[in-house]
């Protein structure tokens, strides 16, 4: 009887504590929400009175605003709508190429830097911390900020964009690679070290074969992200299709905005699809081997 009462009391106690935690969590969340709503000038009445503009904008960008088919929906006159295809497709190709080169250079940088921060390969804590901080810096500073700075240093054009993507990619991939490196099987490494191999041969023959499939898969994912990133590099003058897009938005060439958005979204979707297929194929091959 006594133990039952104890048990009931304990149960109530646990329940009360749990409720207390939930209440505290909700209160914290509400406070943070109110603070951020106040900080960011949330104005719901403006949103609701102007929400029509949002859909109205889509209505306007889907209507041809010049030429013989003026006033009609864009898809009724695709030739009019996509009049700039000859100019836009090369720009789109440039954007993809920027993403490709940026990912490649960044991945090479990440591959060179990812062994230093790994606990199992670099016993020296100072080297490890230095490498980690450097990678953190590279991935925390947004690539558009790098692009803004590089445009000043290297001049307007895609070169600044590629370098900005590369630096950011090196930071992001470097962290992911070094996590993969920390999770490898150490036996091959010990085997090579026991036979007197130096650092780089050890990495080449004991580490690289273990991390290669993960590295490739992370690179493909990063390429998908970088295609999106490259599409807005033109906003700050760093090349690609973004330049035409921001011009169309700023100068109210409504039909052009929708055409460019369509091209970008289609391109991103196709790249995502292909890269997903490729990654699955790689994983399958890995499972068979």
């Amino acid at each position: 009887m006594g133990s039952q009462a104890d048990h009931a009391r304990h149960w109530r106690e646990v329940q009360r504590r749990k409720r207390g935690h939930t209440l505290m969590f909700c209160a914290g969340l509400a406070a943070a929400t109110l603070w951020s709503a106040w900080m960011s000038d949330v104005n719901l009445s403006k949103l609701f009175s102007n929400i029509g503009n949002f859909f109205g904008y889509f209505d306007r960008i889907l209507t041809l605003d010049s030429g013989p088919a003026m006033g009609r929906r864009v898809w009724t006159a695709p030739g009019e709508w996509l009049w700039g295809l000859d100019k836009w497709l090369p720009l789109l190709a440039d954007t993809l190429l920027m993403a490709y080169l940026g990912t490649l250079l960044g991945a090479l940088g990440a591959l060179a830097l990812c062994f230093a921060p790994a606990r199992n390969l670099t016993p020296n804590p100072w080297a490890r911390v230095a490498a980690r901080r450097f990678l953190e810096f590279c991935r925390t500073v947004p690539e558009i900020v790098f692009a803004l700075i590089f445009v000043v240093a290297f001049g307007l054009g895609p070169m600044a964009g590629v370098l900005a993507i590369a630096v950011h990619t090196a930071g992001a991939l470097g962290k992911q690679f070094s996590e993969v490196v920390e999770n490898i099987d150490m036996k091959p490494v010990e085997g090579l070290m026991a036979s007197g191999a130096a650092r780089w041969p050890t990495i080449r023959f004991a580490v690289i074969p273990q991390i290669l499939s993960n590295v490739v898969s992370y690179c493909l994912m990063r390429f998908e992200i970088n295609v999106r990133g490259a599409s807005v590099m033109g906003f700050v003058g760093a090349g690609g299709i973004g330049q035409d897009l921001i011009e169309a938005i700023r100068k109210f060439y409504y039909a052009d905005v929708s055409a460019l958005l369509l091209l970008i979204v289609l391109c991103v979707c196709v790249i995502d699809f292909l890269s997903e297929k490729l990654r699955h194929a790689l994983l399958e091959r890995e499972a068979h081997a």
């Binding site: 951020s36 949330v42 490709y100 500073v141 240093a153 290297f154 807005v232 897009l245 921001i246």
Partner: protein, 296 residues
């Protein structure tokens, strides 16, 4: 001296022509890999290199440009020391802009999570009510995700005007696409057994989702939302470039005016803020994962 060998293992000394032939017959692919497959890695590397060289040529990379650019970067780095915007009042403005950035990231992520949560159940194979709804939701999410946050910010500025509110809405929209996809993947990865348990006691579809799926996916979803909050602090630091509030406006102005000390100050503040949020969200994520395990 004889070398001990595992039973059944073939000793090399006994490998005569016949056993080699047997091995060849048994593992033909090990002895005669098709030339194309042997050449494939080299071909891939050669193609990748060729494409990279073409890109380098097309984007007019040159050692001279690279060297002058790096030299200029070095000059800027020197001009960045000491990182200070020039006065206490300016410093306070930057700190306030940073607070705005964090607020944009927080509110945007919260709203995106709230909207993506119900939609994800529509997009997941095991909880949706019709294949058509699933297909439409998924394609919709893909479309939203394909448009970059900066572009969404430009669109929302048309609705609510310049300022941080447009930033909140931009973060919300672009994360809605990403989180919706991630959440629906988490729902699809949920274990079937609790659902079957609820179904076996006669629970409706709604009950199966509520008591079979939801407890499994909530910790995953909370973890992903926290992770997005952290990465949004980085991205909302830039939407100010197009006028959607936060520290980005200050940062881009300082870069355009070559005020490198102010640039360095803003970047350092962003780094500190991201590091703090990273730490907090790491602690919260660990607590959520542990709490989830305890509840199970």
């Amino acid at each position: 001296m004889t070398i001990p060998s595992a039973p059944g293992a073939m000793r090399l000394t006994h490998a005569d022509a016949a056993s080699i032939a047997r091995m060849r017959a048994r593992h033909p692919e090990a002895f005669h890999a098709p030339p194309l497959r042997r050449a494939a890695p080299y071909l891939i590397v050669a193609l990748a290199t060729a494409l990279a060289v073409f890109a380098l040529w097309r984007f007019e990379f040159s050692p001279v440009r690279l060297a002058t650019g790096l030299a200029r970067l070095g000059d800027m780095a020197v001009l960045m020391v000491p990182p200070w915007p020039g006065g206490l009042a300016e410093a306070w403005t930057v700190v306030k802009a940073l607070g705005e950035t964090v607020a944009i990231a927080f509110l945007g992520t919260l709203l995106a999570t709230a909207f993506a949560f119900p939609v994800a159940f529509l997009a997941a194979r095991n909880t949706t009510f019709s294949g058509v709804a699933r297909f439409l939701t998924r394609r919709g999410l893909d479309g939203v995700r394909g448009v970059d946050m900066l572009i969404w910010a430009l669109l929302w500025i048309n609705v609510v005007g310049l300022g941080p509110f447009a930033g909140v809405l931009a973060v919300m929209t672009s994360d809605f696409g990403a989180l919706g996809k991630l959440f629906s993947e988490a729902i699809e990865a949920a274990d079937r057994k609790p659902v079957e348990g609820v179904a076996s006691t006669g629970g409706s579809h709604w009950r199966q989702v509520r008591f079979g799926v939801l407890p499994q996916v909530l910790p995953v979803i909370a973890g992903q939302a926290l992770y997005f909050f952290e990465s949004n602090t980085r991205s909302s630091a830039i939407i100010g470039i197009v006028g959607a509030g936060g520290i980005g406006l200050y940062l881009s102005e300082q870069i355009r005016m070559f005020e490198w000390q102010g640039v360095a100050f803003a970047i350092i503040l962003i780094l500190i803020a991201v590091a703090i949020i990273d730490r907090i969200s790491g602690v919260l994520r660990a607590a959520i994962i542990n709490g989830g395990v305890q509840k199970l």
